[in-house]
Symmetry: C2
Subunit: 231 residues, 2 copies
């Protein structure tokens, strides 16, 4: 019997992880990137850290808090473009936000539920608010408008992003898309006359075109619609 090559593996996985809050978050992000957020469970993260799940509860209250921390961490690098009109820069910024949600499977649907309010989300909110105000939009409309834009960005990502990592999430977006196309194309002219007549319009456009239009439509509406708090 040969001795196990313990020293070797020790050098690869040095000593033992320090097990801090930040280290837990980093490992969670790693797992999410590789296998989707759904796989980044307390048990799985603990396993990756060579410990039992109970140990994580010293640093993190529960799964929800862990995922909220991950969301905020990923928003760290969003910056405002240097050129373009205020509306163009706003569209680019909210699109960058959507991309973060889009590219990390499971993140958007998680963000919708947990409402993370970390420093990086606040910074993003501030920048969007600033762009509206730069554009001469009344601050009260701007404030509610940022909420609306972020909400629809998150929701769009939740709908279109791939599942929680692998197929067993139920039905994949691609498969769902087929179901939608089929349902609309075969819409009954008797019960759903408008849908039947305008099926092409309903299904038209690439996701990016639809997204861009919806952002511009929202910005236009936000800029022109008065609050009625004085009634």
């Amino acid at each position: 019997m040969t001795m196990p090559r313990q020293p070797q593996s020790r050098r690869n996985r040095p000593a033992k992880p320090p097990l801090s809050r930040q280290w837990i978050i980093d490992v969670t992000i790693e797992i999410m990137r590789r296998e989707g957020l759904k796989k980044a469970t307390m048990r799985r993260v603990a396993q990756e850290l060579d410990t039992g799940p109970a140990s994580l509860y010293v640093y993190i209250r529960n799964t929800t808090e862990l995922h909220a921390a991950v969301v905020d961490e990923l928003l760290r690098d969003l910056t405002v473009a240097k050129s373009g009109s205020w509306a163009e820069r706003l569209e680019r910024l909210v699109t960058d936000y959507r991309d973060v949600m889009w590219q990390n499977p499971g993140l958007a649907r998680s963000a919708l539920v947990i409402r993370p309010v970390g420093p990086n989300l606040l910074a993003l909110f501030d920048r969007m608010l600033g762009l509206f105000i730069e554009g001469g939009v009344a601050p009260d409309r701007a404030a509610w408008g940022v909420d609306l834009l972020l909400l629809s960005a998150t929701a769009t990502a939740a709908e279109h992003a791939p599942g929680d990592g692998d197929e067993d999430a139920g039905i994949e977006p691609a498969e769902q898309q087929n179901a939608i196309v089929l349902a609309v194309r075969t819409a009954d002219a008797a019960t759903t006359p408008y849908l039947a007549e305008h099926a092409d319009a309903v299904l038209a456009g690439r996701p990016e075109e639809r997204w861009s239009w919806s952002v511009r439509a929202q910005i236009a509406g936000i800029a022109t619609t008065a609050l009625t708090t004085d009634t």
Copy 2:
């Protein structure tokens, strides 16, 4: 030893449930109404139907499909108001939709993920499309606009509706709201100047006011923003 009172309990829970797809959906809705959608699991529904979970798989492919069926079932009764302008009737209809999502814990976040395309959702889509067209909005904008309105309604409900039934969903909306208010009120004027200056505007308004404004803003934007598919 006395005989078990089998005939009695037979009369209460007659014979044995027929175990059809519709019966499964109905029981699922019952459980959701009482305890939230999160509790309406395959195992739990099977238990309520006096059978093992495997039996459900004869009628329903997986949990996702079950929840999608529940969503469509609940949209059955949405109708268009008889009076008011097209925009007012549209606002009322999409608000009714939001209310269904709002009142059934866990339903909205489920709907965002599963994109149900049952007959009742198609009928709702058709009615909203019809109202836009009645209002003279170009069909291509109207088609994408209905998508945007339904998306933001679902997302709004997902954010504000109570958790999945009970407290253990992590953090409740009320608690989250406190966290948001605190974070905005204590925003740092150095790193988030706009947020600090306009904290009152960000936090202003009751949910209903904010919702009504966001619907009107979206409708206005949808009606006035041209598609750029011709570029």
